[in-house]
């Protein structure tokens, strides 16, 4: 019934839900990652929680991978997503480092 040229190469009908769910989870896990990381650093949480933070980063990266592959993103977008993930991994470190340094310089 369908002209084959009309069948979308990008997204299968059954893939929409996993795409939405994985992209939401990617962001939420990302939030947990930076939240737990910061909470441990400012000693609101004990230091054993730190591996959990990194575990959440792994979840984030995995969700983004699922999302990207189901969406059939092009090469360029795939690279953009990888760069974002690495940026995401480094971001709280950089933020904490800078804030900490300013704090030290100004209060001692």
């Amino acid at each position: 019934m369908l002209d084959p040229s009309l069948i979308r190469p990008e997204i299968a009908l059954d893939d929409f839900l996993p795409i939405f769910v994985s992209s939401v989870l990617a962001m939420l896990f990302g939030g947990f990652y930076v939240g737990i990381y910061t909470a441990v650093k400012v000693k609101m949480l004990k230091s054993w929680a730190m591996p959990i933070a990194y575990l959440f980063w792994l979840f984030t990266a995995y969700c983004l991978y699922i999302m990207g592959s189901l969406m059939h993103v092009g090469e360029f977008t795939a690279k953009a997503l990888i760069v974002s993930m690495i940026g995401y991994l480094l971001l709280p470190h950089a933020v904490y480092h800078m804030q900490h340094q300013v704090h030290e310089e100004n209060e001692h």
């Binding site: 990008e10 929409f16 962001m27 977008t77 995401y88 971001l91 933020v95 800078m98 704090h103």
Partner: protein
């Protein structure tokens, strides 16, 4: 609302907050009308049609936020610069001009609604461009008022102490006022029309407003929990770099389908993927400052838990600020990100997904922090040293946050049905559109949106009661 204890700038700020709050109520009321029309299409048909209700809903939204933003600036200026705001008389005059112009625009929206297809309609009734429908005469009024406001800000900033926060606000507000000019012309070419339309909408909402929120959050952290100014201000500059760095070219995600070239796909995808990063960073920042100051308090001479004092000097405002950090990340970040890449946006663009994102993002990123500023104004006006939550403050924040989240989830489910039925399968025709709207999940989504809208409105009423009465409540430390 006038109070003798406030200096004139802060007094003007309370005027701005008051009118902003009234418009906030109007926004919710007309939103409810539109929500009812989804469920009962005959409601007010050809009296106050959906298009009119929605125009009022989104215009009241934009205008109340602009009012509350101006109010916030007038509130913090004397604190930051250490001097009285320059040109406060003109500021007050402009306030009344602004209020009068809005009243006229609203009355014309309600009673005239549409006009003939000629320039007089564009000049005097309505421009018919989503969010900036205001007729051309009002555009000029808005520019005059905005320039007057910016002039006051600049003169005060230059004369007084120009802190980092004031510097950021000065740069941000001039961009904010200037960008409005991009929306003040008519063209037959709808692609060109929407290209510039996004300069106003996107560069306001995803760039200049976000930076404004960054500056207000910085002020709030300093005044409410005594965060270290140097840390906060350095952080503000980093935020500015991240927000403008990702936000300005993030514009690309609006240029996928309006007739603009395909290279915007790549630009939009790249910068959209980066856009959540500053939001995450803002979230970390609030957590960091709170943890640091609270941690310092906890480590200082106390031995038992009970004697640890909270460092928060305005609990209701701080609650709203925390919801801002969360809401910005959730509404703008999560709900924005999951339909921003062109591959999936092809199917989600212009469905209830957009609406879900719009509700949570405007609320989470802007409404929350502006309500927080209103609580700060109530605290200042009533000379309260430590402001505590009342029952109404807690109920108000719970109902409003719960209501908006509920609406967002309901709209998301409705949008999902629309994507599958109307977009992926039927190809967005007239018939495809109505097939999607007829879906059971869609219809129930709309029912729940209405219910959650009512919940939000109840929260609003409690918030009104709390803002009006909490100042005299004895629970606060004076």
């Amino acid at each position: 609302m006038a109070s003798s204890t406030l200096n004139e700038s802060k007094q003007l700020a309370t005027w701005y907050f008051t009118f902003a709050f009234i418009l906030f109520g109007a926004q919710l009321l007309f939103g409810l009308v539109a929500a009812i029309q989804y469920v009962m299409p005959g409601f007010l048909f050809e009296i106050l049609d959906f298009s009119v209700a929605r125009t009022l809903h989104i215009n009241a939204l934009v205008v109340w936020m602009v009012f509350a933003m101006f109010g916030s600036v007038y509130w913090l200026l004397p604190d930051e610069t250490g001097i009285d705001t320059v040109g406060i008389k003109i500021g007050k005059l402009l306030y009344w001009i602004f209020v009068a112009a809005i009243a006229v625009v609203v009355l014309v929206y309600i009673f005239v609604q549409v006009g003939p297809a000629d320039e007089t309609t564009i000049w005097f009734i309505m421009e018919g461009r989503e969010y900036i429908e205001a007729p051309r005469w009002a555009d000029f009024g808005i520019v005059v008022v905005a320039l007057g406001f910016v002039a006051n800000l600049f003169l005060t900033g230059i004369k007084g102490k120009q802190t980092g926060i004031v510097t950021v606000l000065m740069a941000d507000m001039i961009a904010f006022a200037g960008l409005y000019l991009a929306g003040m012309f008519f063209t037959d070419n709808i692609s060109v029309d929407q290209y510039w339309w996004w300069w106003v909408i996107h560069l306001w909402v995803e760039a200049t407003w976000e930076v404004f929120v960054g500056a207000i959050a910085a002020y709030g952290l300093i005044t409410m929990i005594g965060a270290h100014r140097k840390v906060v201000e350095m952080w503000l500059w980093i935020e500015v770099a991240m927000l403008f760095g990702s936000g300005i070219l993030g514009m690309g995600h609006h240029y996928f389908w309006i007739g603009t070239p395909e290279y915007w796909w790549e630009i939009g995808a790249l910068f959209s993927a980066l856009e959540p990063l500053p939001l995450v960073a803002m979230f970390v920042h609030v957590l960091y400052d709170w943890g640091k100051t609270q941690g310092a308090e906890m480590n200082a001479e106390h031995t038992d838990e009970d004697s640890v004092r909270s460092v928060i000097q305005n609990k209701p405002a701080f609650t709203w600020f925390v919801f801002n950090a969360f809401g910005n990340f959730l509404g703008a970040g999560v709900w924005g990100f999951f339909h921003t890449l062109p591959q999936v946006n092809l199917y989600t663009h212009g469905t209830q997904f957009t609406s879900a994102h719009g509700h949570l993002a405007f609320f989470g990123a802007y409404a929350t922090i502006l309500i927080g500023m209103m609580y700060i104004a109530v605290q200042g006006k009533n000379n309260i040293k430590v402001m505590n939550n009342t029952k109404s403050s807690i109920w108000a924040v719970s109902l409003i946050v719960g209501g908006v989240m509920g609406m967002t989830v309901a709209l998301t489910i409705a949008g999902y049905v629309q994507v599958l039925v109307s977009r992926a399968q039927m190809g967005a025709t007239w018939a495809g559109y109505f097939d999607g709207q007829a879906g059971m999940w869609f219809a129930q989504g709309m029912d729940w949106r209405l219910i959650m809208g009512v919940v939000t409105f109840l929260g609003f009423l409690l918030l009104a009661k709390d803002l009006l009465t909490t100042g005299k409540n004895p629970v606060h430390e004076r």
